[in-house]
Symmetry: C2
Subunit: 218 residues, 2 copies
């Protein structure tokens, strides 16, 4: 337990260095290596067949460090998912913001970024499009939340929470929109990108437009 060390340290003294890194830095570095390795391995063989051992080998670490950072495989899946998706969502948000105020332009920008990244990184793509379904309630919850965020980026929630009564219907619209975009993405990826990013974005956008206009009319 690293905690024991703390007892001997004044509040801000650093732990012993290894490889120039403090104990906590080393730990987070290992954690990151595990997440990267997990994405790699999931991309190769899928989450279900990805063993702890295989991931550790890919990360050039031993099992011990797996359990140092994660309680179990599922925790790593969630961490990997959040890692990839969190970053992607940040970028999408930024892209949307950079596109100005026009809803249509923002939508186009966010989707373009989404599909561009998807094409650039096929393996992470697999993690967050496919591997994440139906593993466990905890994982489903994570996915659900990511979907909500995704939706809010594409079509900022003007009415979502406000119109209590209509809120539920709005949720279904968002859900449908995200489902359409993700399904399109999944197919596009698994067929190895037969269309240009532009073309796919155009198709995805038409589904988003449904949600956009329907939400306004309500």
């Amino acid at each position: 337990m690293a905690r024991v060390n703390r007892l001997f340290m004044a509040s801000s003294r650093k732990a012993r260095l290894y490889g120039g890194m403090d104990a906590e830095e080393r730990r987070t570095e290992r954690r990151l290596k595990l997440i990267d390795a997990a994405i790699e391995v999931y991309g190769e063989v899928g989450y279900r067949s990805a063993t702890v051992k295989a991931i550790c080998e890919a990360a050039e670490l031993t099992e011990r460090y797996f359990y140092e950072s994660f309680a179990n495989s599922e925790a790593l899946l969630i961490a990997a998912y959040n890692h990839v998706v969190g970053h992607l969502h940040e970028e999408m948000t930024a892209a949307a913001a950079a596109a100005g105020d026009d809803a249509e332009a923002r939508l186009h920008a966010a989707l373009t970024l989404y599909f561009t990244r998807l094409k650039e990184h096929p393996k992470p793509a697999r993690v967050f499009l496919l591997e994440i379904s139906g593993i466990s309630p905890a994982v489903d919850a994570v996915k659900l939340d990511a979907g909500r965020v995704f939706s809010d980026i594409l079509v900022p929630p003007v009415l979502d929470a406000k119109h209590g009564d209509r809120g539920a219907a709005a949720t279904l619209l968002s859900t449908g929109m995200v489902g359409a975009v993700i399904s399109i993405a999944l197919r596009w990826v698994s067929k190895q990108y037969p269309q240009t990013v532009e073309d796919v974005v155009a198709i995805a956008a038409s589904f988003c437009r449904v949600a956009l206009t329907d939400l306004r009319l309500r």
Copy 2:
């Protein structure tokens, strides 16, 4: 091996009867019981935690009969999926046909049937909405095919295969449409049907309309 018996039979002689049933009848009956039990158990605990033993108990059969009808758990999942979805698709097709020639009316009829059944049978719903993702390439293929059928029912393929060049884009439209409908269904089911069937159908229909009109414009 039941085959050995055949050697002693003239071409059409029946096998020994048990419980009034011929060997093959008994076998198919057991197969069906296993499929029903599987749907039940998947609905309770999910495919991943559904053990062969539990399914056999639910079917009131022993493991031996599991392996008589299925090579492994995955085979049973596929059979259960096809069983449920095949039936559903038949009904949807019939409903669409009964609704006449108007595309909009047919769409409405098919969707109404879909969501109605979904509400009537929560457990099968779980099997074919959720459990089926990312198990294995074989299972994914089955799902993909079901999606195609589903799409063809909702929006009959006027242009799909014909316009070779545009075919790929049409596929993405269908994919998006089915993805939207299924995502909506999934959410609706998991929130325990907060809206009326009518309302959900209306929302789902608006996504289908995108595909419908876009496919015509191409």
